[in-house]
Amino acid sequence: MSLITLIPLFPLIGFLINGIGFNIVPKNLAGIISTAAALASFCCAVVLFMNFSGEVQIAKVFDWITVGKLNISMSFQIDQLSLLMLLIITGVGSLIHIYSMGYMSHDAGYGKFFSFLNLFLFFMLLLVMGSNYVVMFIGWEGVGLCSYLLIGFWNKNTNYGTAARKAFIMNRIGDLGFLLGIFMIISHFGSVEYLDVFEDLGHGTVAGDKTIMWITLLLFIGAMGKSAQIPLYTWLPDAMAGPTPVSALIHAATMVTAGIYMVIRSNALYSLAPETLHIVGWVGLATALLAASIGIFQNDIKKVLAYSTVSQLGYMFMGLGVMAYSSSFFHVMTHAFFKALLFLGAGSVIHAMSDEQDIRKMGGLRKALPITFWTFLIATIAISGIPPFAGFFSKDEILAHVYEHSPLMWGLALAGSVMTSFYMFRLLFLTFFGEFRGTKEQEHHLHESPLSMTLPLMILAVLSAVGGFFNVPHLLGGDSKLANFMAPLFAHSHAVAHAADESLEKTLMIISVIAAILSAGIAYYLFIGKKSVPVADSKVAGLQKVIYNKYYIDELYDTIFVKPISALSKFFYSVIDFLVIDLAIEGIGKLVKGLSSEARLMQDGRTGVYLFVMVLSIAVIIVWTLKDFILVGFK
C-alpha cells in the first residue's frame, strides 16, 4: 500500500469509526479521531510533496469496471495540480477540524458531525486525486452528498432542510451536464483517463472540432453547479444554514473550487474550445459582479461572506476564461486561506454572540474579541486586494491577464473589485467598530473563543498574510514559483496566456490598489465617520430593496422552474388519478348509484378504465406500427 492510497484511506477510516460507532465512541475521542485522520492525510501529502520529482505518478488501486474496450480503473494520479490541491484540502481541512472541536463542543450531534466531515474529506480527496473523470465524478457526487448532509445538519429547522435540498437539486442539474460530458468523452476518446485523453488530443484532433466544444460546455455546466456560477449559484448563500466550520471548509475553501479544479485539469480540452472559454469568462465576470452587488446590502454576516465567495469564484472562472490557469489556481489557493479565515472568524463572532448573525446587532467587538478582530482584519485586507497580503497578488494576476484579453472585461472586473473592498470593510466596521448594538445579555456574555478555535485563526491569518509570496511576479522582483511549478500541467494547451508588458501591468496594479483603498475609505467614512447602520428590513426601499432581496432571483426561479414542474406533477396526479377516473365515474355515476357500497369498492370503474386504456393503447400501437400497410391497403 503506497503513500498515495493512504491519503484518502485515513479519512475513510475516521468516517467508519465515527459513523458506525455513532453512539459508542465517546464524544471527546470522536473529534480527536477525525482530526488525527485529517492530520495524518496532511502529513502524507506533505511527504509526497517533498519527494515529488516532477514526474506524474499513477497509483492503481484496482480495476474497477470493464465495458467492451473501455476500462475504468480506480486509480490515483499525483502531479503538480493534485499535490497542491491535496495540500490545501488536507491542510485547511485539518485546521477546520481543530476549530470544530471547539465550535461544536456544545452540539448534540458532535460525533455525527465529525464523521460527516471525514466523509467529506474522503470524497474531496477522491475528486482531486482520481486519475480519470469517473473517479472525479464519484468524488463530485460524494461531496455533493456530504454538503447536503452538512447543510441540513441542524435538521430540526425545516428551512435548513429546504436549503440542503436546494443545494442538492441544483448540484444534480450540474452533475447531469458533467455526466453527459463524461459520456461524450467516452464516445469520442474511448477512455476517461486524463493522460489518455490529453495524449489523444495531441495528435489527430482538429482545433475547431465542435465535439470538444460540447464536451467542455457540458463539463462547465457541472462546474456551474458545484462552483455556484450564474444561473446555478443561488444554493450557496442558502447553504450557510450549515454549521460555520462547514461553510468554511466546504462552501468556501474546498468543494466549491472543484469546478475550477476540473477546468484546470481539463485545460487541454478547454484551450481547444475558444467559444467555451469565452462563455466561461463572461459567466464568471457576470457572477462576480452580480454577487458582489448583492453582497453590499446583506446584513447577515455569513450571507455577506457567501456572496463574496460566489463573487470570488466568478473571478477565478474569469481567469480561466482568459486561459490564465495558473493565476486562477493561485487565487483558489489564497482564497482558501483568507475565506476560510473569514468564515472561521465569523464563526468565532457568532459563537461569542450566542448565535446572533445580524451585523446590525453587533458593533464594537474588537475589544472583546481581539484575536478574532486582528485575524479578520488581515483577511479583509487580503480579500480586498491591498498589498502586501495574499489576495493582492492573486487577484492582480488575474486582472492583468483579463486586461490583455479585453480591457472592457478588466474595467468591469475592477468595478467588482471595488465593490468587494467596500462590502468587506463595511462588514468589518459594522462588526468590530462603533458601539455594541446587541442586548445587554449578549454584551455580558461576550468572550474570546477558546484556543482550539483561535489557533486555526492565527495560522490561517499568517497564511493569508504571506500566501501571496508563493507566486511573486517578475514585476515585483519575484520568480513566479507557483506558475513555474505548475507549468508542466499546461504542456498540452496550445497557448497559455502571456502576461501583459510590465509597465502597463504596473499601471493596472496601481489603479486597482488605489481603487480598493478608496472604496475602503468610503466604507470608513460611512460606517465609522457617519456611524450609519443599515436600516431594518421593512424600511429598505427602491433599488436597494431589489438588491437586498437578491434581485428576486430565487423568486424568479421559483416561478420559472419550480412552479411549472410542480404544476405538471400535480396535473399528472390529478389527471391520471382523479380526472380520468373521476370523470369516467361521473359519467357513469348515475348508473352506479344503485349499487351497494361493497360492490362499489370492487367496481369503482377503475379496473374497467384500466382495461379500456390498455385496449386503446394496443389499438393505437398496432395502427401506428402498421400505418404503412394500412395506407397501402386503402390505396
Partner: protein, 173 residues
C-alpha cells in the same frame, strides 16, 4: 350446402355473442354464452380441428359454463328477495367508447387477417394436411412424444391452481 351450415353457425356465434353483451341479466348472458361456445366448437369441427371442437365443448360448456351458472345461482341477492326471483342485473357502462374501441379493434384484426394470405402461409410452412383423418390420434401421439414436457409441466400449473383455489376458498379456522 356446407357453406350454408357454416354461415348459420357463424350467425349463431356472433348473434349469441352480441346477446351476451347486450343483455342485462347475467343468467341470460351465461346461457347466450353457451350458444357462442357451441357455435365456436362447430366452427372448429368444420375447420378440421375435431379434437379442439370436442375439447371446447368439454371444457367450456361442460366445465366453465356450469361453474358460471352455479356461481350465479348461489349468489345471494338480498335486494331481489321480494320479487321471488333470484336475478343479477348488470349495467352496460361506457357504451359509446366501448363500441368504438371494440369496433376499431375488430376492423384492425379483420384487416390483418384478410391480408394474411393463409393459403400461401399454409403451403409454405405446413405442407399437405390430409382433410379426412382425425387429429385426435396425432395430437395424442404428439403430446406423449414431442410435447411431453409442456404436458407434464402443466401439472405444476394445475397444482398451483388447486392449492391456490382451496387456500383462497377455505374459511379461516
Amino acid at each position: 350446402m356446407l357453406n350454408i351450415i357454416l354461415i348459420a353457425f357463424c350467425i349463431l356465434t356472433v348473434g349469441s355473442a352480441l346477446w351476451v353483451l347486450w343483455t342485462k341479466n347475467v343468467l341470460h348472458a351465461a346461457f347466450a354464452l353457451l350458444l357462442t361456445f357451441l357455435g365456436v366448437a362447430a366452427l372448429y369441427v368444420m375447420a378440421g380441428a375435431d379434437f379442439l371442437g370436442i375439447t371446447q365443448i368439454l371444457v367450456y360448456v361442460g366445465g366453465i359454463l356450469v361453474l358460471l351458472i352455479f356461481g350465479i345461482m348461489l349468489t345471494n341477492q338480498a335486494g331481489n328477495k321480494e320479487g321471488g326471483k333470484n336475478m343479477i342485473l348488470t349495467e352496460n357502462l361506457n357504451r359509446f367508447w366501448g363500441i368504438l374501441i371494440a369496433g376499431g379493434f375488430f376492423g384492425l384484426l379483420f384487416y390483418t387477417f384478410t391480408q394474411a394470405g393463409f393459403q400461401e402461409v399454409e403451403q409454405q410452412h405446413f405442407g399437405e394436411i390430409s382433410n379426412h383423418s382425425s387429429t385426435i390420434q396425432i395430437t395424442g401421439i404428439q403430446l406423449m412424444t414431442d410435447y411431453v414436457l409442456p404436458f407434464e409441466i402443466v401439472g405444476v400449473l394445475l397444482m398451483i391452481a388447486l392449492v391456490g383455489a382451496s387456500f383462497l376458498a377455505s374459511k379461516n379456522e
